[in-house]
């Protein structure tokens, strides 16, 4: 197909004689071009190929490029021969909401797969997007949305008054409906705007107004669907503009008339045909009938006649169109409507009959030969941004349209979207608004005028054939009538029941006709019915624009260990744990992750292992009330710790639920070191701050997160101290001189160390905290001596194995949002503590003392072989059945040689020795409830 530079795909198709361009959503009826803008419901195409395919692009907006590839959507095998059109034969059986009524028996699930396959329009690409997108933030004193004459006038006036002004328009050229007419005033305003420093952004669609005057807009920065694009281009830019005030100059859409078979290719909006003719030099047809409900029909008819096209007749619904509007020489049929459209894939003619009050007044009708039927039913101001900003609407009965009822908060509408259709009035009002807002004065009210009179209801009663309201979703007047008979009185319910106003066009040309029909059928006024709530986006935007740079490696911020490169060099297999990329294990050649973890855990228990625990959460708590504060926050008592001592603590919320755990060590009289879980450090710090700022306001405490400052190099195993001593740690840290759960400040060749004797493996353990930049050095020094120790590097997976063997709790894995301290065996700690602490009161509620609570226990499979998978249900009977608990952690114990698990089990603490059934994916395994720990029950190993 050939076209000219500047053509849209729509204008090029029309110029090449293509009339059938799409299929409707439900009935697959043939459809042609309906509009010339973003309101287009029918001419949707998938553009581009492979990773560059964009679905559901409106042909009316798509500028053609050499090599453009576009295909119609929702049809197979082609738009001309669409097997889906067979559904049209059953159209009478598919009224609004048919699936709610007919697909209930035997079950909706029988039909759902087929319905889902049929639903949808274009096809999303399956490959990763080849291009990229960015977002940019900006500010403006005055932001003008719309580049027509009203928008330009407002922007120029505001800039002249000294405001910083930005102006956005979706179109490539400024001027709105005048852009293609070479209008001198538009050219003058654009020049003035540039001279005054107005930042003009063409090809930029403002699609949403959000809180605090945030306007989001999408700018197209490269051609859509071109085959000639380089490897990776910046496709779109998302603008996030904070504006002191916004001026909406978004224009208006044309409202179509409702008559039988008004969806045939060759029926279209009158203004669209005029634009195709004058802007693109394309005749949409040669013999034209204009269906009129507005004086604008005559302007279009006259202009097209002047362009050399034949106007067969203007068929006006109204008995008395404005005499001034009717040009001489036109055949005008008053008080009449189209009752039939001839032609399936292209209009071949129509029949016209007299009507009054929406009903036929005679049985006779006149046949008219034509190949194009134009709709001029009035106007629909684009009030979407006004509504999104919280503005109200009012109904103008004479013009049959909704307009803004005053200004929205910090957003003022001007021009056609405010109901001002007279050029001079729109320009003058917009300029006055621009100046007023720039100077911080109240904006003058809009003077709606110029749209002319229009009838609200254009449907023809008592004639055969579907009279479509929503072309994209195949919603006809009959569907709205059915909904009203079924007592759907709210326009929101009507939308959901009939699907009118849904889809890619969101009812730009159908909403008003639908609500007017509903008003008629339910005896309400249009104002009482109102519109559906207009929500962003105003028009479809790509997911890429929303995602911006958050794709691939930037999808979400992940944290790297200080010694990430060192671990990579040692062959670490990285996985993501709590937003950190961490070594899961260090597999040998050909070794699986699971086998590596088994090997690593085994060697740690026999000799020693080296682990990077740097992500472990770390907080410094300082202040004269630090000890008292930590007593309030933790179940454990921290105020009795002497400097250098450490204690395990459980952190509860006010419901008594476990939210984190960790080790608190005292560094000085009013200075504590708090280790949290890796994933829990942010919520712990936030909880500390919240309690300090909202409840314990008299306590003088400062909480400083220091996780990234301090790396944590953990050495565990019977030979742990031997290994550390070999690299030069001072003898005062030896197990004989430094007890388990103590912390010493030390140094190694001038590098400060905070050495904590603690263990999550159950072995003798040292957690050497040191400045992050030295982590790689210490790891390297230790690793150089690993052979003589017979030690190993171990990752998260081996650590999990060892902590399960020890029955150590992992918050979030072995607990959930209901787990209380008693459920995990910490009742004694609470009983011993006399002081108050957060959550304590909730632990005395009846539910906290319920003997049926889930409690953490150990499990081992009875056969000694079958693993007990995490998430498996413990129940007396096969599912579906009431469950008794679930497996929370599971592993194969290299120490014991059989699978073990932790589980939350009802009355678990009283069921030791009992056999339970564990169900998972249809299989049942018998397991025995056992006490933990599984290994080293006396806890001797941690003491070295």
């Amino acid at each position: 197909m050939r076209g000219f530079k500047g053509d849209t795909l729509a204008s090029a198709l029309l110029a090449n004689g293509v009339r059938l361009v799409g299929r409707s959503f439900k009935l697959h009826r043939p459809r042609g071009l309906w509009s010339c803008g973003l309101e287009e419901p029918s001419a949707l195409v998938d553009v581009g190929r492979g990773a560059r395919r964009t679905p559901n692009v409106r042909a009316t907006l798509l500028e053609i490029e050499e090599g453009l590839a576009a295909t119609s959507v929702n049809c197979w095998p082609s738009v001309g021969l669409d097997l889906g059109a067979l559904t049209g034969a059953f159209g009478a059986l598919l009224p609004a909401g048919f699936y709610y009524k007919t697909f209930k028996w035997p079950s909706w699930r029988w039909y759902e797969p087929t319905i889902r396959r049929m639903a949808g329009m274009g096809r999303a690409p399956t490959e990763p997007d080849a291009d990229h997108y960015e977002e940019v933030a900006a500010e403006a004193d005055v932001l003008v949305v719309g580049g027509g004459i009203a928008g330009l006038a407002a922007a120029v006036a505001a800039a002249r008054a000294g405001a910083h002004v930005r102006l956005l328009t979706r179109a490539a050229r400024f001027g709105g409906t005048l852009a293609w007419r070479g209008d001198a005033e538009v050219a003058g305003l654009v020049a003035a705007a540039r001279q005054l420093g107005v930042e003009l952004l063409p090809r930029t669609l403002a699609f949403g107004v959000y809180d605090h005057n945030l306007v989001c807009a999408c700018e197209s920065t490269s051609a859509e669907g071109s085959a000639d694009l380089p490897g990776c281009v910046l496709r779109e830019r998302l603008w996030k503009i904070r504006a002191r005030t916004v001026i909406a100059a978004a224009g208006a859409f044309e409202r179509p008339l409702v008559f039988p078979d008004n969806d045939r290719p060759g029926v279209m909006l009158a203004g669209a045909a005029l634009k195709y003719a004058l802007a693109y030099g394309v005749a949409c047809g040669r013999r034209i009938v204009v269906a009129a409900n507005s004086d604008s029909a005559y302007q279009v008819a006259e202009a097209l006649r002047a362009a050399g096209l034949e106007i067969v007749a203007v068929v006006d619904r109204r008995p008395d169109p404005s005499a001034a509007a009717v040009p001489g020489g036109l055949r005008v049929i008053r008080s009449a409507a189209l009752t039939t459209v001839r032609g399936g894939r292209a209009v071949r003619g129509c029949r016209v009959a007299s009507v009054a009050d929406g009903r036929l007044t005679s049985a006779s009708s006149e046949a008219l030969d034509c190949d194009l039927i134009l709709n001029a039913g009035g106007f629909v101001p684009a009030v979407h941004l006004h509504s999104q900003a919280g503005g109200k609407l009012r109904w103008l009965a004479r013009e049959a349209m909704f307009v803004p009822d005053g200004a929205a908060p910090a957003l003022v509408s001007v021009g056609a979207c405010a109901g001002v259709f007279m050029r001079e009035a729109a320009r003058d009002h917009a300029a006055a608004v621009g100046e007023a807002l720039a100077l911080g004065r109240p904006a003058p009210a809009a003077p709606p005028a110029g749209a002319g009179a229009a009838e609200a209801i254009t449907r023809v009663a008592g004639v055969a054939g579907k009279q479509f309201i929503d072309l994209q979703n195949d919603v006809a007047a009959q569907d709205v009538e059915l909904a009203a008979r079924e007592n759907y009185r709210s326009v929101e319910h009507l939308k959901r029941y009939t699907t009118t106003g849904m889809g890619t066009d969101q009812g730009k040309t159908s909403n008003v006709n639908a609500l007017l029909q509903l008003a008629e059928y339910t005896g309400q006024s249009p104002e009482e019915v109102g519109t559906t709530r207009f929500r962003p986006p105003f028009a479809p935007i790509t997911l890429g624009a929303i995602v911006g740079r958050r794709a691939g490696s930037l999808y979400r911020p992940l944290k790297d260990l200080p010694a990430h490169a060192w671990h990579a060099a040692q062959g670490a297999s990285f996985e993501i744990f709590g937003d950190w990329r961490r070594p899961a294990a260090y597999p040998l050649q050909g070794e699986s992750l699971e086998a590596a973890a088994q090997r690593e855990a085994g060697i740690v228990r026999q000799r020693a292992g080296l682990f990077d625990g740097s992500p472990l959460g770390k907080l410094e708590v300082f202040g004269p009330d630090a000890a008292r504060f930590l007593d309030l926050m933790y179940v454990g008592t921290m105020s009795t710790l002497a400097p250098g001592q450490a204690r395990y603590g459980l952190l509860l919320n006010e419901h008594g639920t476990l939210v984190d755990d960790g080790i608190v060590a005292r560094l000085g009289e009013q200075h504590y070191w708090v280790n949290t879980t890796t994933a829990g450090v942010d919520r712990t710090a936030a909880a500390f701050e919240e309690w300090l700022q909202c409840e314990f306001v008299n306590l003088k405490v400062l909480v400083t997160p220091v996780t990234s400052r301090w790396a944590n190099v953990t050495v565990a195993g019977p030979r742990a101290w031997q290994w550390l001593a070999a690299v030069g740690l001072e003898g005062a840290l030896a197990p004989g001189r430094m007890k388990h759960m103590t912390l010493r400040e030390s140094e190694l060749e001038g590098v400060p160390l905070r050495v904590l004797r603690a263990s999550f493996s159950g072995e003798l353990g040292y957690e050497v905290n040191l400045p992050a930049e030295h982590a790689g050095d210490l790891l390297g020094r230790l690793w150089e001596r690993a052979v003589e120790i017979g030690a190993v590097l171990y990752g998260i997976e081996a650590l999990q194995v060892m902590r399960i063997e020890k029955g150590y709790l992992h918050i979030g894995t072995d607990t959930d949002g209901t787990t209380l301290p008693d459920d995990v065996g910490f009742a004694r700690g609470i009983e011993r503590k006399t002081a108050q602490f957060v959550g304590r009161r909730s632990l005395s509620r009846p539910v906290a003392r319920d003997p049926q609570r889930l409690q953490l226990v150990g499990l081992k499979s009875v056969d000694g072989r079958t693993p007990l998978p995490v998430g498996a249900h413990i129940a007396a009977h096969p599912p579906p059945a009431e469950i008794d608990g679930r497996v929370t952690s599971s592993c194969f114990s290299p120490e014991l040689g059989y699978p073990i698990a932790l589980a939350l089990l009802r009355r678990g603490s009283q069921r030791s020795g009992e056999r339970v059934r564990v169900y998972h994916l249809g299989a049942m395994t018998e397991a025995e409830v056992v006490k933990t720990p599984f290994v080293d029950r006396e806890g001797r190993r941690v003491h070295g």
Partner: protein, 181 residues
Amino acid sequence: MDEWPQLHEDMSCSGLTVAVDASLQVATLRYFAHEGAFAEAVREATGLALPQTLQAVEGPEAQLVLAWRSPTETLVIGAGGAGLSQLAARLARFADGCFVDLSGGLKVVRVSGERGSDLLCRLGGTASVPRPGEARRSRLADVAVLALSVRELETLLVVDRAHLPHVLAWIRETLLDFAAA
């Protein structure tokens, strides 16, 4: 072994240079009140008062920058560790405030050139862009960053070490687009 060798590569395009300034160390001053013994000690040690809300100030001979981070927190950024060590020693004895060394935990990215604000507007919101004398804590590249400026055409981004590769990758992509435009 370098933590991330690629971090030491400067990034630039016309009108913009971005580099991790490894010579800068960062500590935080935490205090209960803006006035008092601790604040006075800071003034004596640095020649600077604790900054007001959103303020960033540079000390004599550009040795030290103080940047407001929250009502009870001021960041200290200085070249070399010695200055910070001395400051830590002088502030160690106070009960109404403390010095916490965050060197290595917070990294400083220096953004220089007239397109600096263009870059920052693509990393976060307009509120993320500090004017000279300002420090603004906001979300840049989806992570918490303190952006501060003490002179024209230069912004320092104080970034958590663990998030630095992410922030730099975002900047690198943006600069590629700048260069391609």
